[in-house]
């Protein structure tokens, strides 16, 4: 009697395991192209549409996609997860794997991302429970290029011209390339200090640099001619909908 019961259980166990694994081939995943958009809070929203079609013999439980983006040193920048509790057999589930990046937070902590094109590491994990009982997980990692919004940011030579008896007009050329995933608009504010740390003047300009395009502009400042020294420093603030960074100290002379 025990023998019959044991044989029955063995057959059931093996048939269940085999059919559960066999039904994986009837599971179809379709990962769409990632879309980048901006939320009303001016955060970057990365969205990847996922379509799962389960025409296997069993339900799929706890389908989850986890993405972890980290910098070159392995510091986690963002981690996002999407969970579909159950995909019934014969069903098609359409979902989106969303991740929100607070660019301001990111750039405050990693100024390298502001000025330099670099790479980010992406860890992608997909997990599910076949027939709701057998956990399976697949993971992969790869690198993606990161485009800096202020790539190659530089200030040119200051050009002075007469303004009135006491002040000069100083024109400071500035240039950069926007390699980021978004169009960059906003303000650049600048303060000019001489070698004795006295504030000579301040000015600002609006910027509008489309994705993957260079920007060339200038900032106009009115500085007292008596206070000008051969060297000093500029303090630059970047105020955009995505980030507020500053002051960035750039010496001149």
């Amino acid at each position: 009697m025990i023998g019959i019961a044991t044989t029955f259980f063995w057959i059931f166990l093996i048939a269940f395991a085999a059919s559960a694994f066999y039904s994986i081939k009837d599971l179809q995943f379709d990962f769409g192209d990632p879309q980048v958009s901006v939320t009303p809070e001016n955060k970057l929203l990365l969205s990847m549409p996922i379509t799962i079609t389960n025409v296997g013999y069993y339900n799929i439980g706890f389908f989850n996609v986890t993405t972890e983006i980290s910098d070159e040193e392995g510091f986690t920048i963002i981690r996002g997860s999407t969970l579909v509790p159950i995909i019934k057999k014969g069903d098609t589930v359409i979902t989106a794997h969303n991740m929100t990046i607070d660019v301001n937070d990111l750039l405050q902590n990693h100024q390298n991302f502001l000025f330099n094109d670099t790479e980010v590491r992406i860890n992608e994990m997909i997990g599910m429970r076949i027939a709701e009982v057998i956990p399976v997980q697949a993971s992969t990692n790869f690198s993606e290029p990161w485009g800096a919004p202020l790539y190659n940011f530089a200030l040119g030579e200051i050009e002075y011209s007469a303004y009135n008896l006491t002040h000069l007009r100083a024109i400071v050329p500035l240039s950069f390339e926007n390699h980021a995933l978004f169009d960059l608009t906003g303000n650049i504010q600048m303060r000019m200090y001489n070698s004795t740390d006295s504030l000579l003047g301040e000015g600002q300009t609006t910027i509008d640099a489309a994705q993957n395009s260079p920007y060339n502009g200038y900032i106009e400042l009115y500085v007292p001619s008596a206070g000008i020294t051969a060297n000093g420093r500029f303090e630059v603030d970047f105020i955009t909908p995505f980030f507020n960074i500053g002051p960035l100290v750039i010496p001149y002379g």
Partner: protein, 149 residues
């Protein structure tokens, strides 16, 4: 002389019967494996070494089953049945890496948690092993009683 010849014929018939039974069992088991493999074949493309792993298991299992069947009616039948159960436990634990089966190809690593399956398989094998031990004890008991009488 006629009695000895009769006994020899009887033993030969018995042996052929056992051999036939072992062959049928082996063939049935192989057919079961064949059917099962048709289900597992798509997975085998993804997991290299799976076919070799299962084939080795099937070959050793069939050999132990045939030897056990040929040794039926003796104490060795229970030894081989017990060995079969222990082999299943050890082979599953070793080949499934303790229940977490992992494989890496190209840049993708795949891990399958088979601990539940392994636990049930081990429990069933232990049941089979316990059954073999009890049957061996029972066999020895019956033989002792038979010798006394």
């Amino acid at each position: 002389m006629a009695e000895t010849e009769d006994g020899f014929k009887k033993n030969l018939r018995k042996f052929w019967y056992k051999a036939l039974k072992a062959t049928i069992k082996g063939i049935l088991f192989y057919i079961f494996y064949f059917v099962l493999w048709s289900f597992l074949a798509p997975v085998a493309d993804v997991i290299p070494g799976l076919q070799l792993m299962i084939e080795t298991f099937v070959i050793i299992y069939i050999i132990l089953m045939i030897i056990g069947e040929l040794a039926s009616g003796t104490i060795f039948q229970y030894f081989f049945n017990g060995a079969k159960a222990l082999f299943v436990i050890c082979y599953l634990i070793l080949s499934l890496n303790g229940g977490i089966f992992g494989v890496t190809f190209q840049n993708i690593s795949l891990s399958i948690d088979l601990r539940l399956f392994l636990t049930i398989a081990i429990l069933l094998s232990l049941l089979g092993f316990a059954k073999s031990v009890l049957q061996a004890v029972n066999y020895l008991n019956e033989r002792t009683e038979y010798t006394r009488f």
